[in-house]
């Protein structure tokens, strides 16, 4: 993000009503390599391609905030790899990590990884370090420390069904697990912040939150997210595109001040649930409208969405969730133009 975009983001998050409304997208793999015209594997393994694809997106859409911006990652493999997960990288598909443990009995054997040396994390960091001069020469800075959230990582390490049933059957073991993962995540986020002093934002991505009831989330989620979203950081950004009506009222307690949600909840609704204390990044249906809709669809649905908002503070117009595969430049430009009136 440029200094100008970063300042704009902070103004929105601090409650200032911006006109025209700002537009932002979570942009990552697989949309970016597909849009740029390279394979997913090339995108992950060729640092030059990764940088060129990111720079091209930012140059082609200067009115769009790309969040987190220059996201160095290996999809769902990023953090689980540090715990020793086997990682699969099909040639042009999104990579995925395999389980590390098969039952709750093995939770005590899971050690806190060292983010400076373990799994793919040194590669993530070094790619950013090598690219930093070119990123800054292009007028951007590295602004966010990024990680998958603790529930998401736990679900990858032991399987989501096992994680959720263990919460019910052996809650103490899940707390042990969550503490181990949270300790690791704090170290990982801190390492990113130490390496790049320009970082003043944290992005956590966690859709397992959406499967929990309020009691379970208060018990197994809230305390750990609160610990991770360090209030000394200016932008504390959560992505959860699974159901969020149960957890959204707790976003301020999690220290979250920017939220990207799923498409099944309206901005108006979320504004009410969060008492307008959290900036919302959304919420055009990503696949049915932004990726597959025609020009009339995109324009109409965007206008209708904005018309529902009486109070336009704390809104960054986007789609629900990250940018889905297949969205064309024309659709993005039309979306931006419609928002800008």
């Amino acid at each position: 993000m440029t200094d100008k975009q970063w300042e704009l983001l902070k103004r929105v998050v601090n409650g200032e009503t911006i006109s025209p409304l700002p537009v932002g997208f979570i942009v990552d793999c697989p949309w970016l390599p597909n849009w740029y015209g390279c394979s997913i594997l090339d995108y992950f393994t060729n640092d030059e391609l990764w940088l060129s694809a990111n720079l091209k997106a930012m140059n082609d859409f200067p009115d769009v905030m790309f969040l987190p911006g220059f996201w160095s990652e290996y999809g769902m493999c990023t953090e689980p790899s540090a715990f020793g997960a086997r990682c699969s990288f099909p040639a042009n598909e999104f990579p995925h990590a395999h389980r590390v443990i098969s039952s709750a009995d093995e939770i005590n054997s899971v050690e806190v990884p060292n983010p400076a040396t373990d799994g793919l994390l040194p590669f993530v960091l070094n790619r950013l370090k090598l690219a930093q001069p070119k990123i800054e020469a292009a007028g951007h800075k590295i602004r966010f420390a990024v990680a998958r959230g603790p529930l998401n990582i736990a679900s990858y390490l032991m399987g989501s069904t096992e994680l959720l049933t263990t919460m019910m059957m052996e809650p103490d073991k899940v707390h042990t697990f969550m503490k181990t993962i949270t300790t690791f995540l704090k170290n990982w986020l801190n390492l990113q912040r130490e390496t790049f002093p320009s970082i003043d934002g944290i992005l956590l991505l966690d859709d397992i939150i959406g499967f929990l009831g309020e009691d379970e989330f208060r018990t197994f989620g809230l305390p750990y997210f609160k610990e991770l979203f360090d209030p000394s950081v200016q932008i504390r950004f959560l992505h959860n595109d699974a159901p969020c009506s149960t957890s959204a009222p707790l976003l301020p307690k999690m220290n979250v001040n920017l939220f990207n949600m799923g498409f099944d909840v309206s901005l108006k609704n979320l504004k009410e649930i969060t008492h307008n204390k959290v900036t919302l990044l959304g919420n055009l249906p990503p696949r049915d409208v932004l990726a597959k809709g025609d020009a009339i669809d995109i324009k109409e649905k965007t206008i209708n969405m904005l018309a529902t908002l009486e109070d336009k503070s704390r809104i960054i117009v986007s789609c629900g969730g990250g940018m889905p595969p297949g969205v064309t430049s024309e659709s993005i430009n039309l979306f931006v133009k419609t928002v800008q009136g």
Partner: protein
């Protein structure tokens, strides 16, 4: 006997698997679905009646889920309790005393390792009297096709949670329909809608396990 049946239904609804299970906290130390089913079978209760109790319990917890009164962990525990009942009923299915409604082949599509939805659907559909072949997660199209050829007349269920794997779901349907055009394929998962399911050529879309049961019973029973 009817008291045992009622208790089995309650254990399924509340997710009380067995005596050793601490969940739900207010039933800690009490017998669960496992123990009551054993007693019911010893008391010569018909397997059909036990199966119906399971379905009733799952129906009730499914309704609570639909009203946001319980959430996925509670639903998973209910399915786990039902699984404990089904373990006792397996011999009745094998002997033909209880007839299965058909065969349902289920898996999470290639590139997706999420199993919550798939497991819930698997357990609820099995409890509804279907033979379920669960292929697990990250299942590629050829594996579905192989299983379809081994189980003529089956219905296939595809699950996905990641937005990024929806394309794999569409490809899997296409490959299944190319090799086996009459096989019915139903889909479910957080990123899907009825519209997107139809667009990718699925024969049906279910937003939750109960809807999957209803859909399967309507399209799958020959």
């Amino acid at each position: 006997m009817s008291e045992l049946i009622e208790k089995i239904g309650i254990c399924v609804e509340r997710g009380k698997v067995n005596k050793a299970s601490p969940f739900p906290p207010d039933m800690k130390g009490l017998d669960g679905a496992d123990e009551y089913t054993k007693l019911a079978i010893e008391a010569k209760t018909s397997a059909d009646a036990i199966l119906q109790a399971c379905n009733d319990g799952m129906q009730r917890v499914g309704e609570k889920f639909g009203k946001n009164l319980v959430f996925v962990p509670e639903l998973l525990m209910a399915a786990k309790a039902m699984h404990a009942v089904m373990a006792h009923l397996k011999p009745f299915f094998q002997s033909g005393t209880v007839k299965t409604k058909g065969t349902f082949i289920l898996g999470t599509v290639a590139g997706d390792l999420h199993d919550i939805g798939k497991n819930l659907v698997s357990m609820v559909i099995e409890g509804n009297g279907w033979k379920v072949i669960d292929l697990g997660v990250d299942v590629k199209a050829p594996r579905f096709i192989q299983k379809i050829s081994e189980n003529p007349g089956c219905v296939v269920g595809l699950s996905a949670l990641l937005t990024t794997t929806i394309a794999n779901m569409a490809n899997t349907i296409k490959e299944i329909k190319t090799t086996s055009p009459t096989t019915k394929v139903i889909v479910g998962g957080a990123p899907l809608t009825a519209g997107s399911a139809q667009e990718m050529g699925a024969d049906g879309y279910a937003r939750d396990p109960q809807a999957a049961v209803a859909l399967l019973n309507s399209i799958g029973v020959s």
